[in-house]
Amino acid sequence: MIPAAFDYQRVDSVDAAVAALGEHGDEAKLLAGGHSLLPLMKLRLATPSVLIDLGRVQELSYVQDRGDHIAIGALTRHHVLHTSGLLATDAPLLAHAAGQVGDPQVRHRGTLGGSIAHGDPASDLPAVLLALRATLVARGPEGNRSIAVDDFFVGFLETALRPDEVLTEVQVPKVTGQGWSFQKMNRRAQDWAIVGVACVLSGTAAGIGLVNMASRPLRASATEAALAGGASLADAAQAAAEGAEASADLNASAEFREHLARVLVRRALEESAAGGRSAARV
């Protein structure tokens, strides 16, 4: 449980982080909470030669009202999301889901950007951003660029970020008037979801993200399309596992995951349609 030797570099700005990435290339990893990266390093499954610590980059920790959307700095910790009054009002799904991540220690150290950039299909927040149709902002040597969340997760632990880019901001549209639901089925409260569903619903327009149903965070496109085409909630939910490539592991077979996806999507849609969880229940 001792990592292989590595160099440690603390940066105090995004530009310094970008410069450090440019210098070290893919030998470097960004440290932004460390709750995924450090366990991998302790098991020596990850052996970066340089660790660039973003922990003190103050400019990346914020939740701001930008009119039609909320902007969240990539280093904002899960606990801050969970207790943000702004999110409770304008993106309650994200505030609630952030409170379901891991355990209190993880939520007080882990960051939104760290979770998203890791691109783990078993993580909760990527699915939430899919449901919310978020936009991600990355900064590289050429400056900032925006990436639609649907273009961001490209494979297992693989994202659209370039080796010299830092994820800086997450933008989520305000969702006033929408019902929402977050369904997470796991063995223990602290565990990753066996299957999870993040959902927003307004009339027949739904955004549904699935946790742990493919090698990357996945949108339940077939269900969204069925709803848009006028299908009932229950019928649309039957399509929840279409396009999924669920894996089998210690906790569930692929078949069971597909079943869970259908059940949990139906429940998420029903809860959303019933007005959803209110901010008070966050």
């Binding site: 449980m1 030797a5 063995r187 223990r188 602290q190 565990d191 066996i194 569930a252 079943h259």
Partner: protein, 760 residues
Amino acid sequence: MSILGNRVLRVEDPKLLTSGGTYVADVRVPELDGAAHITYVRSTIAHANITGMEVDEARQAPGVLGVFTAADIDLGVPPLLPMFNQAMARPLLADGVVRFVGEPVAVIVSERPEQGADASELVWPDYDPLPVIVDPMESARDEVLLHPAAGTNVVLALTYGEDPNLFDGCEVVVSEDIVNQRVAVVPLESRSAAAAWVDGRLWQWSSTQNAHGVRDVLAGQYGLDPAAVRVIAPDVGGGFGAKIGVTPEEVLLGWLARRVGRPVRWSETRSENMVAMGHGRGQWQKIEIGGRRDGTVEAYRLTILQDGGAYPNMGALLPWLTRVMAPGTYVIPRVEVASRAVVTNTTCTVAYRGAGRPEATAAIERAMDIFAFEVGMDPVEVRRKNLIPADAFPYTTATDAVYDSGDYEEALDRVLEGAGYQELRAEQARRREAADVVQMGIGVALYVEITAGPTAGSEHARVVVDVDGSATIYTGTSAHGQGHDTAFATLVSSRLGIPMDKITVVHGDTDLVERGQGTMGSRSLQLGGSAVFEAAAEVITRATQIAARLLEVTPGEIAFDDSNGAFRVAGGDEPGVGWPDVAGASKFDGTPLAASVDFQASEPTFPFGAHLAVVDVDTETGQVRLVRFVAVDDAGRILNPLLAEGQRHGGIAQGSAQALLEEVCFDADGNPVTSNLADYAAISATELPSFELIAMETPTPINPLGAKGIGESGTVGSTPAVQSAVVDALGHLGVRHLDMPATAERVWRAIQDAPSGKGA
């Protein structure tokens, strides 16, 4: 008023909760100055011949003081327990063959721990793979032998009460194959030890439950007189049975220290702990039960296949304890038990909280449930009908256990009343009627277990009163978190009238405590505590004689006041003398004021209880939630309810965890797939309700405290109660049995496959 029976706060906690305990890795003493660090290189393959081992590169690595393999080691192979097949003995390092993933194949001594971790990646064993046996049933066929010299994979076979006509005359006979799955022990402090040669003696610091046992093993291995070995167990962060024995990694430390001429330290990682310390349970059981349609049980047969892991250890012996407790709390005229323990290419199995008794209870309680299911009676009524009556004690069972005292029906009544059993059944019926998605299950288990056994036990204590009026207790048991300091100080304080804060408890140091047997099998209070109690009484007897001399009366005229420790002339109003006076006089005479006692019990004791679990089962997802847990635990007279409840809480949590979540798994190639705490689902408070604990005290006549053991009761009763509740939630669908743990997929599949399943 005596403080016995009161909720005296733990004296250990201020330190443990603030500055923290001193565990082996924290020990800073001159004898360990300059200690080197030990790293074991472990097999990554479950069964193979070792055809070569490249270590030169590791020897050249920075900070490395030595790299050793089996060929270098000139210590003998530790002998197995005498009843085992000795051809299965385990070498200290794998010698030509590896038999499980995690078995040490080489050892590295380095200046710093990270240098050892780096160098371990430079050791290159060559393996020639052999067929891997993970399944004990496959092992029992003896087609592939793990230890060819043994000629069989069977470590130990036992039979009891063999009778081919066991079920003759029974109106109903039902059977079921069930699995009491392998679980991990997960002490918060993983294994840790340090060794130094001090003036020709071997000093070993060890995270152990049994310092004197470690001393004797090391003395045997090193050919030393036991007096030439000192073992010190500082604070120990949990053991649960897995720290009773001495593992090869620990035995080797003295050899390594001598070889490199430096003291050495070793602390395993969590990942190592999960594959190499030893696992608990691991019994494949066949239960057969027969009786009359009115619910009377007449015969019971339990057939056990115990997974012993790669080398015989305590686990292979546990079916013996399972056999003793096989009939549980019931009058069963005919009982047959047959067991075999076999080796597999997996981690060794060891004692784990309950050690053989939870397996017995799980089996008989499942048997009572399936029997009730078959005859169409409420499982509680079938149990009640067959309970050993309260006026039958001491009661000799069909398996020759002599239960000392008990009132099982009273325990059952109390748990049913506490839980509101009839109301629960009504709510269950309502949900079934309404076809609710979330169904309710109710599980009731009665248990009796053997503590301070398996044969009559003994323990040593010495109580000393010093001239300043303080007392020191030396005990041969050795705490690993239970609160011995509090318990023993309470006993002495109540007896001698010396305040708790002037009493010191010394344990776990073989130079300071003359002899001892450690903590295991829920023995410490009833044996160790009884010894302390009697030693305190002897101190009073001696002190009374001294006080009589000081006060110039006969001892018979002295009245001792145990509220303040004063010796007075009876009937007089003179102030008398106190502990400093008598201790001072004793010292002046040349002997300290002290008494040593070896308390010898005449029999083991048999605590018992009734547990009731209520679960919600989501029939669409298979998700199980434990919503209520009501427990009656009777461990005889309770010295300190706070300590006893702590033991019950921990035990119920661990036992429920086996029913709900925990299982150690290997893939078909013998690779562990639950080797960290993300994959292995050790339970947390979030998954548990607040436990509803109901008190009951039926004293035992076996010891002066009237106390039985409480350390393991929680795990014995809770596992079958929770398992039964899960099955009960599906009973209306025709589900009669479900193995543990009750994972969502397992429950969901049972619903899909049920005779009346709705295929949700």
